[in-house]
């Protein structure tokens, strides 16, 4: 049974390796290996105090374990190459199936990389002697079993919830928010790491020692000190824990196979018809209709929400984090609005990719290209402009730099307009397919990410925004040089004018392109990856 399932998994893996996936796997593998080697080396560093090594290793292994446990949430379902449902009709005992599936879970790059990281216990043990190294080997293997089981348990427990659309979207939002905030990572890397080494966070150190992920490190240390009783206790504890988890997982498997999957609450409902306040503000024209549809989609589609939210996040992080960590205090803060507009146009510059093959409906309506481009521009501006304006009006005043007002207020309209143009240029000229939202709503699922060359291209198109800024900057610089307050404030009308002109001009280009190459764009964005 075990052999059959392992071979099946290997075969599926081999068949699914095509072109881009191989690259993804290799890149991911190398990255993982890098982290693993880092972990191993962390165990080799001769710290002044013996305690420090234990704390550092236990913390790193806690991070590895958390990574395994959060993986299903982050990837929207985790690895489901072999699903228990596939074997529901076969006359196989529950326990046999559980063991077989568990064995198959060890086949894969992630498990291999984790094993390398956990072998850090052996190298750490070698510093203390042969006995501790052997203890390290045993615990490295047990620790791998533990994390893989924890991962499987997480998947089985959340299983149906994660495969529902709503659950996936929730996971996506969660991960996007925590991951992109960057603040947490920054904090951990810059302050928590040294704090652990210096022993300044005893509570955290205790926690990572108590967690099962830290037991291996403790056992190796204990073996080094000759406390074989502790080693035996920890070994028995981890083995018992694994046994309990295995039983629990088997039970969950049986439940998952036989009970209907969770579907009901995955449906999101539209608001009651009748609440049409937003709708009625838009004109009842083709352009208004497109803008209305776009506004709804921005609001209802998790992937688009992530794109916009991450925009604000990136803007805020770039501008705020340097200010927080001292140095150039609050230099960037008044200009957050500009960052937000810039990233908003770059992040959402694949509108047709977001919609996928739905583009057909625009192509079969005569002359809809113009309405589509203009409506999308309008909707985007309606979302971004108020946020940017608010930031532009509030932040310079709050941070005590009113001299920034002419700059921010002049550049925001220029960039919003230019951004609305760049957005459509990107969407039409360098569209790339994303996974079909009907089947998979996780933006991290395989394929659909822009390649490196494409990212560079997107960046260079975004640099067109610099062009949008030139007239305003020119007027403002002239105003500063000539000490003319009139010229300085003339930046605002100039910004409004450039913004409007560029939105119109670049949108017109996108429209010509869409009209001429619509079918080609359709086949690009509806390509299944």
């Amino acid at each position: 049974m075990v052999g059959v399932l392992v071979r099946l998994k290997l075969r599926v893996l081999r068949n699914s390796l095509r072109g881009r996936q191989i690259v993804g796997m290799i890149v991911g593998g190398i990255l993982g290996l890098f982290l693993a080697v880092f972990t191993v080396f962390a165990g080799l560093v001769p710290f002044d105090e013996a305690r420090t090594s234990v704390d550092v290793l236990a913390s790193l292994y806690a991070v590895w374990a958390i990574g395994w446990i959060l993986a299903p949430v982050a990837t929207g379902g985790g690895d489901d190459t072999l699903r228990p449902e596939h074997f529901a009709l076969l006359p196989i005992g529950r326990r046999k199936l559980a063991v077989g599936l568990l064995a198959a879970s060890f086949v894969g790059v992630t498990a291999l990389v984790s094993l390398v990281a956990f072998l850090g216990l052996v190298t750490y043990g070698l510093r203390l002697g042969t006995g501790p190294a052997l203890v390290g080997l045993v615990f490295a293997l047990l620790q791998l079993v533990f994390v893989v089981l924890a991962y499987r348990l997480m998947m089985a427990a959340l299983g149906a919830l994660l495969t529902s659309r709503k659950g996936k979207e929730l996971g996506v939002l969660l991960v996007a928010l925590t991951g992109l905030s960057g603040v947490a990572i920054n904090y951990v890397a810059s302050s928590l790491g040294p704090a652990i080494v210096d022993g300044r966070v005893p509570a955290l150190a205790t926690t990572v020692r108590i967690l099962p992920s830290g037991w291996g490190t403790l056992a190796v240390r204990a073996a080094g000190d000759g406390d074989w009783g502790i080693v035996a206790g920890l070994l028995a504890g981890l083995a018992a824990l694994i046994a309990v988890m295995l039983l629990g997982w088997g039970a969950l498997l049986a439940k998952r196979v036989t009970s209907p999957s969770f579907r009901g609450a995955s449906r999101s409902k539209a608001a009651e018809p009748g609440k049409r306040a937003r709708r009625s503000l838009l004109p009842e024209t083709p352009i208004g209709a497109v803008a209305g549809k776009e506004l709804r989609t921005w609001w209802r589609d998790a992937r688009r929400r992530v794109a916009l939210l991450s925009t604000v996040m990136i803007g805020v992080v770039i501008a705020v984090v340097p200010s927080l960590s001292g140095g150039s205090r609050a230099v960037m803060l008044p200009y957050v609005a500009l960052y937000v507009v810039f990233f908003a146009s770059m992040q959402s510059g694949n509108l047709y990719g977001f919609d996928g093959s739905a583009l057909w409906h625009t192509l079969v309506v005569p002359g809809a290209e113009r309405a589509d481009i203009r409506g999308r521009q309008l909707a985007w501006a309606l979302i971004v402009a108020p946020v940017a304006l608010l930031l532009a009006l509030v932040l310079p005043g709050v941070t005590g730099t009113p001299s920034a007002y002419p700059w921010v207020l002049g550049l925001v309209p220029a960039l919003v307009g230019g951004g609305a143009g760049v957005l459509m240029l990107q969407s039409v000229y360098i569209a790339y397919p994303l996974p079909d939202p009907r089947r998979n709503s996780s933006p991290w699922s395989s394929g659909g990410r822009p390649g490196c060359a494409r990212v560079l291209l997107m960046l260079s198109v975004s640099l067109l925004l610099v062009v949008a800024a030139i007239p305003v900057v020119a007027v403002l610089v002239a105003g500063s040089v000539l000490h003319s307050p009139v010229l300085r404030w003339a930046g605002i009308p100039v910004g409004v004018l450039t913004g409007t002109a560029l939105a119109w001009w670049w949108g017109w280009h996108a429209q010509q392109r869409l009209a001429a190459r619509g079918p080609e764009l359709l086949s690009t964005v509806s390509k299944e990856r």
Partner: protein, 256 residues
């Protein structure tokens, strides 16, 4: 001058990599006809229909709708057709009514007409109960129905439907059949693709058989099927061989 065909495909050719998906496809759909396009999976039905309505640019050849060239004068041609593609997404995050309202306004219809037609279509296609469900959460059959509503909304003269009955339950299928028959009865033309022979035989008065990207038979249903059933004729024309009679001797004999 002869009457212009509702849809005319002239030497349409499309190649994807090494596969020739459409190989010199010639087809004329008479006005007022109910036209079935049948063929095995991967025969080139969807490719041909996509090129006919302007969703896929042909490598060579042309398509005309009531004499209007789809690729030369797309605006006039597209106003005449209603399209239901197979397997493509639609704006997913709208409810059925929002979607129809959006499509109607995009087509340039006025607000009241759109509201009226959308309500009627939702009612006839029994989608009113799912009033608050987003299209992304629709079942496969509901998707076909909302797609058909999108195709009908602007009152086209020709309907081009790719697999309109796939995954549709029998009751809805009967509703759709009635609607399509009424549409043909009032002078419209319908082109649909399917691989369910019985359905095409029952519904259509004209049929074309397409296989390996080529039209191998076309004409009135009675002419194409000759004396037998359309299914027999199809298997004969396509050159297939109905398997299933040989081997498998162990099947169900082990109970003895």
């Amino acid at each position: 001058m002869a009457v212009e065909p509702a849809m005319g495909l002239y030497r349409l050719t499309k190649r994807f990599g090494t596969t020739l998906a459409a190989d010199n496809v010639n087809l004329e759909v008479p006005p007022g006809s109910f036209f079935g396009l049948v063929g095995p999976n991967g025969a080139g039905k969807t490719t041909s229909l996509s090129m006919a309505v302007g969703l896929l640019r042909p490598d060579a050849g042309g398509a005309r709708i009531f004499g209007v060239d789809v690729w030369q004068r797309p605006e006039q041609a597209k106003a005449l057709i209603g399209v239901l593609p197979d397997g493509l997404s639609i704006p997913e995050r709208l409810t059925g009514r929002e979607l129809l309202t959006y499509m109607g306004l995009l087509r340039g219809l006025d607000k009241n007409t759109v509201a009226e037609r959308a309500h009627e279509l939702l009612g006839v296609l029994e989608l009113l109960e799912a009033e608050r469900t987003l299209v992304i959460d629709y079942s496969a059959g509901m998707r076909k129905k909302i797609g058909l509503a999108m195709a009908l909304l602007h009152g086209p003269r020709l309907l081009v439907l790719d697999e309109p009955f796939e995954a549709v339950d029998p009751v809805s299928a009967s509703t759709i059949r009635t609607i399509l028959n009424r549409f043909v009865g009032s002078g419209g033309a319908v082109v649909l693709s399917s691989h369910v022979m019985a359905l095409v035989e029952q519904l259509c008065n004209h049929v074309a058989v397409i296989t390996h990207g080529r039209v191998v038979a076309a004409g009135a249903v009675d002419d194409v099927r000759g004396g037998g059933s359309l299914e027999d004729a199809f298997v004969h024309i396509v050159g297939g061989r109905t398997g299933g009679a040989e081997g498998l001797s162990w099947l169900a004999s082990s109970s003895d």
